[in-house]
């Protein structure tokens, strides 16, 4: 009975008209869903899933005369910090570490991105756990140049003092590796790649010393010398990967619970817990995740399934370096307790407050609905393309006098050659901007991008003016082209949503109008759609975003090229391989 109902429904003209409205509903629900997340009903308080961590249960002893040692180390580094030649700083660090009895290794690397060479030398020490068996290790990273380009004077000094302090304890079950990369962008990437032997031997030297499997990493960015008031926890990784929520929560717990230091995320220092603040935090997190950059030395650890966060003391208050040292001591003691890799808590989450989050099961439907809308429209257009042509239908009706409510059961044969070819060519052409933008030198990048933008925006218009008089594609071909393009877009976005929710969401929102344009033949509506689509072109959006954020276009492009070379950031691939061809085909289908 139900089969018959479905079959008969299939022919019902009202059902035939339903999909665009269904699509629109999906987009709407998807957008509203995200806005509902900050409400208390959907956001959960964070909790520690891994019982072994026991954050904040340990009595920390880092205080007293250790501050004298910290000041001495800081003074030692002050002298050398402003040097251009990194080798002397590294030599001094190596000398101090060797004196402590820590084994030291050095690694040099060179990255060539956008015509510039980024050289550096990492120096790192392995504090072998006295009773350990070298199978596991935890990492403390203190970059010599911090996130804002300032010298990380307190961070490096604190890391050295902690190395000396940790050496006295025999309760470590994992080796402690202390890494001093020269900067916060390239150093850790070279180090982690070489640690897992996944490095490019031409650019990155192998590591002379290794320990066991990495279980967790903490990076410290502490350039100021004044007392601080709060601690920012930066957890975003390359390509939107996030560390296990347990790590973020335990560090936050230790800082705010045991040490009384307020923890905050995403730059929201004064978070009142209101809906607006939560939404802002979510949006900031989503922006960071969708860009896929590395946001600190910790980001490079994520692709290797090593959970890492960067701690950044902030503001002026009354907590001093020893409090920061105790936070790190407490966190390391918690990580030391771990028997297994962190696996209990979430790897996919959106934090809206330091202690409130939503997990993937709650936020994923919004991106999935946005992606589903494309799939629904693709199927709708496919079915439509199989419908008999409108004129032919009228003739047929005159002839057969069939009831008007019944839609013809016969489907027209679809010629797929041209649509498939066009869609394939458009997607394949994306290799061109990718190649150009990754292989041009930095000064030429803005020009190259402007040229690409101009060509890509003008191309549909030019093509339509040039090609249309010669060869007019049939309605079916246009429908098929659109259908295939939306199908690819829907599949790609729904897959991407599981990997990088924010990127899928942002692209879904920016491409959502494409499913609804080109459906009608109304001339003015067509021109309105063309304008709308031009405004939503990848090039336009990027230019306006850059202008809005007050950044420099050349810098952004260089960052994109740098990100691809050094971090393996795939955001440009998504933009040029998924968004841009979809946009182009959409424009073509509107104009033709």
């Amino acid at each position: 009975m139900s089969r018959l109902l479905a079959l008969s429904l299939r022919r019902d003209p009202r059902v035939q008209k339903l999909p665009p409205y269904l699509s629109f509903l999906c987009v709407l629900v998807g957008l509203v869903w995200l806005l509902l997340l900050p409400l208390d009903d959907y956001a959960r308080k964070t909790y520690i899933s891994e019982n072994a961590l026991l954050p904040g249960q340990v009595h920390t002893y880092f205080s007293g005369s250790e501050s004298h040692v910290l000041r001495a180390y800081r003074s030692e580094l002050e002298v050398l910090a402003s040097e251009e030649d990194q080798t002397r700083v590294n030599d001094k660090i190596e000398e101090i570490l060797k004196g402590l009895g820590v084994k030291v290794g050095r690694q040099s690397y060179t990255y060539n991105a956008a015509g510039r060479a980024h050289n550096g030398e990492n120096v790192y020490g392995i504090l072998q756990a006295p009773r350990g068996d070298a199978t596991e290790a935890i990492v403390l990273v203190a970059a010599i140049r911090g996130l804002n380009g300032q010298v990380n004077r307190n961070g490096v000094a604190l890391a050295l003092t902690l190395a000396r302090y940790f050496k006295r304890w025999s309760l470590w079950s994992k080796d402690i590796i202390i890494v001093f990369p020269p900067d916060s962008e390239t150093g850790t990437q070279a180090w982690v790649d070489a640690y897992h032997d996944a490095h490019d031997p031409r650019n990155v030297a192998p590591l002379p010393l290794k320990s066991g499997a990495l279980q967790g990493a903490l990076a410290l960015d502490y350039p100021g010398v004044d007392r601080f008031s709060a601690l920012q926890i930066i957890y975003d990784g390359v390509n939107g990967q996030l560390p296990n929520l347990d790590l973020v929560n335990s560090v936050g717990n230790i800082a705010s619970g045991q040490m009384g230091i307020t923890g905050f995320i995403q730059g929201m220092r004064h978070h009142k817990g209101t809906y607006k603040h939560r939404l802002t935090t979510i949006f900031r997190g989503m922006v960071k995740q969708s860009l896929g950059n590395s946001w600190g030395p910790h980001s490079s650890f994520m692709p290797y399934h090593v959970d890492a966060v960067t701690l950044q003391p902030y503001g002026k208050g009354f907590h001093d370096e020893m409090a920061m040292g105790r936070v790190i001591e407490g966190s390391f003691r918690s990580l030391n307790n771990l028997l297994e890799h962190l696996h209990q808590s979430f790897f996919f989450y959106l934090l809206m407050q330091r202690d409130r989050f939503v997990s993937i099961g709650t936020y994923l439907p919004s991106a999935m609905l946005l992606a589903a809308n494309f799939s629904i429209m693709a199927i709708y257009l496919w079915v439509q393309s199989g419908q008999v042509d409108a004129d032919a239908k009228k003739n047929a009706k005159k002839q057969t006098k069939a009831p008007a409510t019944e839609v013809a059961a016969v489907t027209v044969e679809r010629s797929l050659v041209l649509p498939v070819a066009i869609v394939a060519i458009c997607h394949a052409l994306s290799a061109v901007p990718l190649y150009v933008l990754n292989n041009t030198t930095a000064p030429l990048l803005p020009t190259a991008f402007a040229a690409l933008a101009a060509i890509s925006t003008a191309a549909p218009f030019v093509l339509s003016y040039a090609v249309l008089p010669v060869y007019k594609p049939t309605q079916q071909q246009i429908l098929l082209m659109k259908s295939l393009s939306l199908l690819v877009l829907g599949m790609a976005l729904s897959t991407l949503a599981t990997l990088n929710f924010s990127l899928a969401f942002v692209i879904g929102v920016l491409t959502a109008p494409m499913s609804f344009v080109g459906l009608s033949k109304n001339e003015s509506l067509r021109w309105a759609s063309a304008t709308l689509l031009t405004l939503l072109a990848p090039a336009t959006v990027i230019y306006s975003a850059v202008a809005g954020a007050g950044l420099d276009m050349g810098h952004l492009l260089e960052q994109a090229s740098f990100g691809w070379t050094v971090w393996g950031m795939y955001t440009p691939i998504v933009v040029w391989t998924i968004w841009w061809p979809a946009w182009t085909i959409s424009m073509v289908s509107v104009l033709c």
């Binding site: 072998q128 006295p130 499997a213 297994e340 890799h341 696996h343």
Partner: protein, 595 residues
């Protein structure tokens, strides 16, 4: 250094009449460490052994050996790792050390492989009870039969050797603890109550940076004498002096008071508040009771009195003070001093701080080892990986050695990817070396069978002087069955240390650290999900099906009305009647009033 000490013992053996010898050798190492080697040796003649007449040889172990037909047994419990860079060559040339965890190899009397497996099974199970260690987990998946690496150490007749099989098993994840120390001490004649064994305390032993407990049982046939079965128990430990000196009641390494910090006063910023620490350069002084946590209670009366129980190897310039009643015997080379002491009184030894620090004559220079070895996993992800072993020859002679790996079956190695690269030793990070195919001379490879046995790989390698060899091969990880995962499945699985036996220029043993192999884990909540899902489905399906089978269907009008409906109808009638009466009454009233 080790050779001199070994000669001393051998000499003592040849001369002494007693069958039990014990000796403690203390050797301070660079960076405030102390190597303490306890060696206990006793033997019994084969006639005594056969007639179950045990005096100094522990009966518990002997009966196990007899029951399982073991000719030779070597058992090792090791914790920590040996830092060859700072501490030099291993004690006893690495022959008394095992990989992290428990390692055991034995020569069992068996005619064929099945019999050998049977005897090995008996041996491991009984030993696991004796030593409170999970040796019974050494089953056939962890046992290999090494061909080149382990040679019988005792003297066996040709006929006996022909009828023997050597089996080797490793448990890399076994944690060695006090419960393993106690049976060890109980096997000694003085049972840890007198002599050097009284120094052994679980708290200090297991706080050591490296410790290894070894038991070797082997037959020795001296010229012209009856063959004896010798048991040698050895404990090597490397203690960190600073850590050991902390009192038991307050072991927490709190930061010292500011006044007690040893600072470099020549620094420009040196002040009350800033201090560049140089305490690492100062070797502390220590005495025996402090370091071991308890005093040495005299000597063991059963021990051979001519062998001095305590020896210390320090340069001549250092000052050593011992308790009253002890006599010092200086060694021939001026670097070792041995002490005999009063049997009934506690003995203590005090090593004073060196007079001039930093002059390099504080400790006996450690001997450079023949080979440095390091092994690590490469790659990332849950499907593939690789193993890289870095073997360095620091000396001036070519070294030929056997590299043995005993890998679990779920670590599938691809032998065709075995590659060697060689590069000369440099101080900077090595740039990528040249591949070389004439480093591996011979390969003995026994592939793994799923769930039956692991991989056995033995390579005969030759490294030229002052070169480093990188040995790499690819590995694939497998997903195990749901029940084969341990409770801490996300930790990974331990892979045993690889054993290196050098053949030339001299025989020596070396072990790398163990590896942690992270295997992909299934979703362990799936059985729960499947159970509730199928239970729900069956419950829903069952209800409907049961109804259709069992229920009698009748027409709606034929059936009896449901009692509830009947009652409801009656209630309605009652109410309707009452209302009806009321309305009738009101009508009558109205009618009456109208009139």
């Amino acid at each position: 250094m080790q050779s001199i000490f070994a000669w001393l013992l051998l000499l003592a053996t040849a001369v002494a009449a007693s069958d039990y010898h014990e000796q403690l050798t203390l050797r301070p190492l660079p960076l405030s460490s102390l190597l303490a080697s306890f060696n206990f040796r006793s033997n019994t003649s084969f006639s005594d052994y056969a007639s179950q007449n045990f005096r100094l040889f522990p009966r518990s172990l002997a009966q196990i050996l007899q029951h399982s037909g073991t000719r030779e047994l070597h058992l090792r419990f090791t914790l920590g790792r040996w830092d060859a860079e700072n501490w030099g060559a291993r004690p006893w040339d690495g022959t008394k050390e095992g990989g992290t965890g428990v390692e055991m190899w034995a020569l069992v009397d068996a005619g064929n492989d099945e019999e050998a497996d049977q005897k090995w099974l008996t041996l491991t199970n009984t030993l696991s009870g004796l030593f409170c260690a999970s040796l019974n987990f050494i089953d056939e998946t962890r046992t290999i039969r090494p061909v080149k690496s382990f040679q019988p150490e005792g003297h066996h007749s040709e006929a006996a050797l022909a009828r023997s099989r050597l089996l080797h098993g490793v448990l890399p994840h076994e944690v060695v603890c006090t419960e393993n120390l106690t049976p060890f001490l109980k096997m000694l004649p003085c049972k840890g109550k007198a002599g050097i064994a009284s120094l052994l305390d679980g708290h200090k032993l297991f706080d050591a940076s490296f410790q290894s407990m070894a038991i070797d049982v082997r037959p020795i046939c001296a010229e012209g004498k009856e063959c004896v079965l010798e048991i040698e128990e050895t404990i090597d430990m490397v203690l960190d002096i600073n850590r050991s000196r902390r009192p038991k009641g307050n072991p927490i390494p709190r930061p010292v008071k500011a006044e007690e910090l040893i600072c470099d006063q020549s620094k420009p910023y040196h002040s009350e508040n800033a201090c560049f620490p140089v305490d690492h350069l100062a070797s502390p002084d220590w005495h025996l009771e402090q370091v071991f946590g308890r005093p040495m209670k005299g000597t063991c009366p059963l021990a051979d009195a001519t062998v001095p129980p305590v020896c210390i190897q320090v340069p001549d310039k250092r000052h050593v003070f011992t308790s009253e009643g002890s006599v010092q015997h200086k060694g021939a080379d001026g670097q070792s001093r041995c002490y005999t002491m009063d049997e009934n009184n506690d003995f203590t030894l005090f090593l004073a701080r060196p007079d001039n620090t930093g002059e390099g004559l504080e400790v006996v220079e450690p001997e450079t080892p023949l080979l440095y070895a390091e092994r690590s996993l490469t790659g990332y992800g849950q499907e593939k990986g690789g193993v890289q072993a870095i073997l360095t020859n620091p000396g001036n002679e070519d070294v030929e050695f056997v590299y043995l790996e005993s890998l679990p079956w779920f670590m599938r190695i691809y032998l065709h990817t075995l590659a060697t690269h060689i590069s000369p030793n440099t101080t900077t990070a090595v740039d990528f070396s040249t591949p070389s195919s004439d480093i591996i001379k011979e390969i003995y490879y026994r592939p793994a069978l799923d769930r039956v046995r692991g991989t056995q790989l033995e390579l005969l390698l030759n490294i030229p002087a002052k070169h480093t060899v990188f040995l790499t091969y690819d590995v694939e990880k497998t997903i195990l069955r749901y029940t084969e995962y341990p409770p801490d499945a996300n930790r990974g699985f331990d892979v045993a240390a690889s054993v290196i036996t050098t053949l030339s220029p001299r025989v020596m043993n070396l072990r790398t650290t163990s590896l942690l192999l992270y295997l992909p884990t299934p979703d362990f909540s799936m059985p729960y999900n499947v159970i509730i899902f199928t239970s729900t489905a069956i419950a829903l399906a069952f209800g409907g099906l049961y109804n259709i089978i069992v229920r009698r269907f009748v027409g709606a009008d034929e059936g009896e009305p449901s009692p509830l409906k009947v009652k409801l109808a009656q209630l309605k009638e009652m109410i309707a009647a009452k209302l009806g009466k009321k309305s009738e009454a009101s009508e009558e009233k109205a009618a009456v009033e109208a009139q």
